[in-house]
Symmetry: C2
Amino acid sequence: MTIPDAAANAFSTLLGDRYVTARGIRDQHRAFAGPNTKVAPDAVAFAASTQEVSEIVKICARHKVPIIPFGIGTSMESQVAATRGGLTIDLSRMDQVLEVSAEDLDCTVQAGCTREALNHHIRDMGLMFPIDPGANATLGGMASTRASGTNAVRYGTMMQNVLCLKVVLPDGRIIRTGTRARKSAAGYDLTRLFVGAEGTLGIITEVTLRLYGIPEATSAAICAFPDLESAVNTVILTIQTGIPVARMELMDELMVKGVNDHSKLGLEEKPTLVMEFHGSEEGVKEQALAVQAIAEELGGSDFTWATRPEDRSRIWKARHEAYFACLAMKPGSILMGTDAAVPISRLVDVILETRADIEEHGLLAPIIGHVGDGNFHCSLMVDPENEEEVATAEKLAERISDRAQRMGGTCTGEHGIGLGKREKLVKELGPDAIDVMRTLKMSLDPHNIMNPDKIFLN
Amino acid sequence: MTIPDAAANAFSTLLGDRYVTARGIRDQHRAFAGPNTKVAPDAVAFAASTQEVSEIVKICARHKVPIIPFGIGTSMESQVAATRGGLTIDLSRMDQVLEVSAEDLDCTVQAGCTREALNHHIRDMGLMFPIDPGANATLGGMASTRASGTNAVRYGTMMQNVLCLKVVLPDGRIIRTGTRARKSAAGYDLTRLFVGAEGTLGIITEVTLRLYGIPEATSAAICAFPDLESAVNTVILTIQTGIPVARMELMDELMVKGVNDHSKLGLEEKPTLVMEFHGSEEGVKEQALAVQAIAEELGGSDFTWATRPEDRSRIWKARHEAYFACLAMKPGSILMGTDAAVPISRLVDVILETRADIEEHGLLAPIIGHVGDGNFHCSLMVDPENEEEVATAEKLAERISDRAQRMGGTCTGEHGIGLGKREKLVKELGPDAIDVMRTLKMSLDPHNIMNPDKIFLN
């Protein structure tokens, strides 16, 4: 127990029954922290306002209680694991859309608002927030992990789409990191410093986001290819040609089989691209024809079109359920995901080498990817009881990171560092760059209470 | 003289005749540092490589010599003023394009390479780097000040277009801030921390940039309006409609008169929008028609087209020479520029209030702006000998900042803080946010040798 009585009393006084130490609630806030280890915080605080988060943090600072900011728990790299116990601050009740400016194409939400809730709120205004990591994550969590997903090839990631933040610092002070102006040269880019900091520098409590008009026309298309190479080459040429495709997702043969079985899609079981085009009626047609010409050249099948909204949602739902499709392919298994991203010219190399590596080691590992960004995921399906298989998968994941880094890429396109990629981060940028990160961290959080152990090895 | 003999000897040994203390060279590296004050460094080092910059910085660190990184000296807020003397490190000889990957649409250049040199280098590959602040700045300088300019409405600023950097830290260590992957969630966003830090955290020596294919079609159009309001409303509606206009520049009546006189353009002397459209032949036509419809609705004249490259360059050259056009309007005057940016819905308000304010105080101050971003500049033309006029202009500039901040905007869209906007920055984000910036700065540069006095008041 890392929470001294004096702190616990202060939390109780401040929060009443929103300060919880019950086992059940703490267990809901557990997270993976290493093979066969899931750790829970000592207590959970359900915060109701920025001011309250500030008060909670001040108490934690006084008593050096570790703090774990928590949205809805969908992060992929153990970012919410309470490795040293302490207090999880659950922001899911701070879920309000505070302001929408349709004229300025922006909005401000509380950190606990989810992306689906936001999109529901703004749909009737003809607006959308396109960043879509699959899970219905909170927008504070998405900012904290610099999330992206299927639409990033066109709309960017949270890096480009957060205008500014409200943040509670490790000493409890509250700051705004910027303004609602579309661009600014006003001092250090604090917004971008907190975006992707995984809660190690402070707690994001409000997020101001760019919005987009719902495009006049949207269409989706599916195209099967004789082999992975021709599918990936279609992506490369599309991007190089500058076609502003909105989504461009690859599924390898195995992944197509998985989603077929799980979502009854009836797709041809070949390497497949799923694409979406946004724009004017004319623009969408033009984009799609351009991609179709490239695909054809490379041996792709005819496009299967999904212009009706319900067909499109069926496809994207299947894509989003890939996680469950993978689990269903090997009952009892867990999914160890990889997240490498490379410069687009190396995408064929990295995927083909990885595919060969997977086959050589006899693992079940469908490949899926936001390939328009050069980002792809292998879902290594392993039996957690089978130590040898786990070890084989870990080594494979290691090699995928190494391979991407050797090709000028990164070990993580969108999942973040958390606990699992800390050594890989050092490999990627070198010890001096990590030392700079650690120096920044310690300058703002000298007692290391903000989400300790994430990003940095001790 | 802030350079002790031991340091001077070390610089001479390292650099030979590229370490210069001659008055003429030092004066070329002077910059404005307050009314009637221009300060020069005690010496200038012309660096030839990252390794050499690192050695220079190590000597400075040992002897606590202030360092001013210098590209080509086009920054707008005294960012290169040697307020405490010290050593200016001139990077203009580090001007090589190190690598271009046409497949990946990226390149790596040395910090002293200018944007025009880069564009010249890549033009035959069908590529362009669109960020265009007007001046032929170095790309290291543009990264350091988070520059943008006329194309930012479509292509973003240096924030979005720098993929990663090589940086020499205040202790001389060399780091890479990221990889060539298009997106990454690998730890703190060091790239964005150094972009816009104005040389206060380290010296950028290499910049890896996104490139774009030269669009299949480009066309430019000019449209005059009966009044400022209808011109600005055309901008607002265009942006809100999501038309991907590449450039959208406003000139008020006075500015049009200025460029007419200076560049012999023969434009109608009314509030005017100058626009550029990039895309496919069809796409460009579609965009232009959409904007034309909006303009017509609001009383705009017929579009005057410039489809021939030479006509387009004539227009943009005139736009870029606005600075000289302004000086010519009032011989002997200096230009005090403002740089506010607001959420687009407030653009009419801020510009009309500012126009009225200018008229009320009898100043000559043409307005020009990257209005698609909500960013506009007033060029306050003042006689530097006329103390009353200078004071009136300073107060006006102050009110423009206040007005923009009150409307949810920023005092600087693209020029940065430098010396002149340090108080305004505190107003904009509050003392705690600035304290966070200062804490970060002091953690990396505890002796405050990297471009001291910029961004922060003492």
